[in-house]
């Protein structure tokens, strides 16, 4: 427990160190999640386009 607290404290630089790592986690997480979300929407739209074209050609 004490070792853990010492680790969290980062020799008194906790605020600086953890905010850097936290920011990296945030921006990298968004960089991955946003394209994945976009992909799901794109797939929906493209399916609709393909459906429409099928019904027109019939």
């Amino acid at each position: 427990m004490e070792a853990f607290l010492k680790f969290i404290d980062m020799g008194g630089y906790a605020g600086y160190v953890w905010s850097s790592y936290g920011l990296a986690l945030l921006v990298f997480g968004l960089s991955i999640i946003l394209p994945l979300k976009e992909k799901r929407q794109l797939e929906k739209r493209i399916r609709r386009i393909i459906q429409n074209e099928k019904s027109v050609s019939k």
């Binding site: 160190v17 991955i32 794109l42 797939e43 493209i46 393909i50």
Partner: protein, 248 residues
């Protein structure tokens, strides 16, 4: 042989299929590299003799700064390929690298600032290194803005390729700024040729993180490029086949 591979890679269905097969492997390796780098950097590496534990910001800051230059070089290279050979995939790599490049640059600037406050005694100074890196962020943002401002995406890609190539002169300026001028930012640690000036236990996590960042970049670019490609080619036969195979 290499040219044939590039041309083949330039074919959208081939690129889409290949990248789809690569992504799980890239993600796995990226995760392992991040886990090892973080454990090595936060737990195994000893504290620095002058900076104490605050030096651990290096594992976020330095790879981000390296990537900000690396991604830009890839964009300039893709830009040249797009202008000379009109390869569609080169255009797509170029424009889809801009966002993640801007993210790396932003992260390098902000974590540098967070590191500078306790060590240097200031959040920001207008020295040559910091100023040229800020200029790089504006270049990335300019590229994104220019691309979205032009409706014809083939024309937009050409305009962006020219801007990316013009901005390439900033890259050696950023890299050598600490040697050409007296700056507050210190000189290079890892890339200098004489004696190593970082302890091995501190260096190995740094290199692991640098590789992890490279994989992360590859993953983000492929994810974005695949979306872009799918939408551009939505009326093509291969996309229709792809969706019918999935059993929509």
């Amino acid at each position: 042989m290499i040219m044939r591979f590039i041309y083949q890679l330039g074919s959208p269905p081939y690129f889409y299929a290949l990248s789809g097969r690569l992504l799980p492997w890239l993600s796995g390796l990226c995760f392992i590299l991040f886990a090892a780098g973080l454990y090595g950097g936060l737990v195994l590496a000893p504290a620095d003799y002058q900076q104490g534990d605050s030096f651990r910001i290096i594992y976020i800051h330095v790879p981000a700064a390296w990537m900000s230059l690396f991604v830009y070089m890839i964009m300039a290279f893709s830009g040249a390929m797009a202008l000379i050979w009109r390869i569609k995939i080169a255009e797509i790599i170029l424009i889809n690298s801009a966002h993640i490049g801007a993210v790396f640059t932003f992260l390098a600037l902000v974590t540098g600032s967070i590191w500078g406050k306790p060590m240097w005694g200031t959040w920001w100074v207008w020295d040559a290194r910091l100023t040229s890196e800020l200029l790089l962020l504006f270049l990335y943002l300019g590229i994104i803005a220019l691309y979205s401002a032009i409706d014809d995406k083939r024309k937009a890609a050409r305009a962006v390729a020219i801007l990316a190539l013009v901005g390439v002169v900033n890259i050696p300026i950023i890299h050598y700024s600490v040697e050409w001028w007296s700056t507050l930012h210190q000189g290079p640690t890892v890339t200098k040729f004489d004696k190593p000036s970082i302890d091995t236990r501190m260096l190995i996590p740094l290199l692991l993180m640098a590789f992890a960042y490279k994989f992360l970049y590859a993953i983000v670019v492929l994810l974005r490029a695949r979306n872009d490609l799918l939408w551009r080619e939505r009326r093509s036969q291969w996309v229709a086949t792809l969706f019918s195979k999935e059993g929509a």
